[in-house]
């Protein structure tokens, strides 16, 4: 027990300045809370693993979809319905469905993980005003998810477009709307990450946060198709997943929102989730 011996030698002289005299002027600022959250994010192994998975899903599934297209409809055989109007963009971004799960779940972990482990008590004792922690977590993680997803989207497109070159789906970066689509995909996944972290803070439970995330992005869209079609048209485009798809889709029709409108709707959902999280953070005991 070498550690115990080491401490035994120093108990009478804690290396602390006498209280009240010559004390350094510490202070909590928004920027410092940001840097603390940045350090917290990268000091956990789960961050690296989950971001890696998100990136892998994004690139791998894009490449798989492009390869599938090339060996199927792209080679001149009768087109499958799903692939009828496929483009290099839609094929390469096929992985967003899976990447949104990884990035959304990590968002939930960033906030709900602190409640699950008890870390939140240390965090809130250091920043008792509380709200700067929520904004910092959402901002830090949102930017990281945005960066990873944007890199992934461009990587998926560069590989995918090479695979489908020479087929009807072929497209280059210079093609109208392609760069906007790829940036849109990064933005969408970044906002999914922010929504995940807001849900985690709102529900204070990893399981609860992930469930609501999956329900909102995967289950509800399926349930809406069971509604009468007149209702469907009013609800469907405004769901967070469909509004998000409008942000990064290359082509739009009467049943989808424009990229700008889609982004506004998605930002609305994000603000709603963050607002709920902020309300609970201020109102409930930690």
């Amino acid at each position: 027990m070498s550690t115990l011996t080491a401490t035994h030698e120093t108990p009478e002289t804690p290396e602390t300045a006498p209280a009240g005299r010559g004390r350094p002027a510490y202070r909590v600022t928004g920027r410092r809370v940001l840097s603390s959250e940045w350090a917290k994010l990268w000091s956990l192994r789960s961050t690296w693993i989950t971001l890696g998975l998100g990136l892998l899903f994004l690139v791998a599934f894009g490449v798989i979809a492009a390869s599938h297209y090339r060996s199927g409809p792209g080679s001149g055989r009768p087109a499958e319905r799903d692939f009828a109007d496929a483009t290099a963009v839609s094929l390469s971004l096929f992985g967003t469905n899976f990447a949104q799960l990884a990035l959304g779940v990590l968002g939930v972990l960033v906030t709900a993980g602190e409640y699950a482990t008890g870390m939140i008590r240390s965090t809130m004792a250091a920043v008792p005003r509380r709200l700067p922690v929520l904004w910092s977590k959402a901002a830090v993680y949102g930017v990281v998810a945005l960066a990873v997803a944007t890199v992934g989207a461009f990587a998926a497109f560069l590989v995918g477009s090479r695979i489908v070159s020479g087929t009807p789906a072929a497209m280059g970066l210079g093609h109208a709307g392609v760069v906007r689509s790829l940036l849109g995909a990064g933005l969408y996944l970044g906002l999914v990450g922010v929504i995940g972290s807001a849900l985690g803070a709102l529900l204070r439970s990893v399981a609860g946060g992930v469930s609501v995330l999956v329900a909102a992005f995967l289950l509800v869209p399926g349930l809406v198709t069971l509604l009468p079609s007149s209702w469907q048209a009013d609800i469907d485009p405004y769901l967070p997943s469909h509004a998000g798809q409008a942000v990064f889709a290359l082509t739009h029709d009467s049943t989808t929102l424009s990229p700008g409108a889609g982004l506004l709707v998605l930002l609305g959902w994000t603000a709603l989730a963050l607002g709920g999280a902020a309300y609970r953070l201020l109102r409930s005991d930690v």
């Binding site: 080491a6 108990p11 006498p18 350094p24 510490y26 482990t117 240390s122 809130m124 004792a125």
Partner: protein, 311 residues
């Protein structure tokens, strides 16, 4: 300096803290005593703003905790519940907290050494023993060089070496002029370091006193003395404030109000031989049990048990 006024916390129908008022002053160690479930942890959580009081208020150095610009510099707290992410290293944990206040890396290294965590600072906190986890919590509490140090059951899980380390640490922090507030459900533990005592039961204040006063109120110190001539010794010792008891025909007497030293001197002066002269401090534990008996019995009765002989 911690100042609580009519502090109350209700969870649904259950009242955890009930109109608690007390002041914790700098320069001494103040023990916060009470049986389990007396509301000690809840009170400490309210002091650092983790729980909002249902009514009443508590301030630290004249302000609510959350209103301070550098809260970690005002109060360093060790909570009873684990407050560390198990996936982060000890140093990573302290560093993250330090960054919120602009506390330099040097200070992080200092508290790591101070808590004896030097060799395990890079290990994941989840792999720590209970005692090491406790040391990490104390390192975090001291990080901001706080004026007030508040520790909830700090000796939990510590080995005897660690317990002694905590005692020395608390005494030296108080000697530096800091406010030290330590909770425990064991009187024996607190009485070794604390001068002042705040005793609670069922969320209410039972006593706000000093160790010395508590002993005196509980009957004070007594001296056991054995002699060949108890009747004569009785006469010799008689005086205001002195009480002598003993069974008829026994050589032993119980004396309160006079020190063993005075008894010896007086006996020698009058040539009375003594066979035994023993100072017997009243057990603080007994005094504490006496004070909190009602609070404990309430819980016993509530669960359908009887605990009449507990005290």
């Amino acid at each position: 300096m911690i100042d609580a006024q009519r502090l109350t916390k209700r969870y649904g129908g259950k009242t955890a803290v009930d109109g608690l008022g007390f002041t914790v002053r700098p320069g001494t160690v103040t023990g916060f005593l009470g049986p389990n479930g007396a509301g000690k942890s809840t009170t400490m959580r309210m002091i650092v703003g983790l729980d909002a009081p249902t009514s009443g208020s508590v301030t630290v150095n004249g302000r609510r905790y959350a209103r301070h610009r550098a809260p970690l510099q005002e109060v360093g707290v060790l909570l009873e519940a684990r407050s560390v992410h198990p996936g982060r290293s000890a140093r990573g944990h302290l560093r993250a907290l330090a960054l919120t206040h602009g506390i330099p890396r040097r200070r992080v290294d200092e508290v790591v050494e101070l808590a004896g965590l030097g060799s395990v600072a890079k290990k994941r906190a989840g792999a720590f023993s209970l005692g090491m986890g406790q040391r990490l919590g104390i390192a975090a509490a001291l990080l901001g060089d706080p004026q007030t140090v508040m520790l909830d059951e700090p000796v939990n899980g510590l080995d005897p070496e660690g317990v002694r380390w905590i005692r020395n640490l608390l005494t030296s922090l108080a000697a530096e002029g800091r406010t030290v507030f330590v909770s425990s459900h064991l009187m024996s533990e607190v009485s070794l370091v604390a001068d002042h005592l705040i005793i609670v039961g069922r969320g209410r204040l039972l006593a706000d006193t000093t160790v010395r006063d508590l002993v005196r109120e509980a009957g004070g110190d007594s001296v056991k003395v054995a002699t060949a001539d108890p009747a004569r010794l009785r006469d010799v010792l008689a005086g205001p404030g002195v009480e002598v008891t003993g069974r008829v025909g026994s050589e032993e007497l119980q004396v309160t109000g006079v020190s063993a030293r005075e008894i010896g001197l007086k006996a020698a002066e009058h040539g009375i031989p003594l066979f035994e002269l023993t100072s017997k401090a009243v057990s603080l534990e007994e005094a504490f049990m006496e004070l909190t008996r009602d609070a404990v019995e309430y819980h016993g009765a509530a669960t359908g048990e009887t605990s009449g002989s507990a005290a």
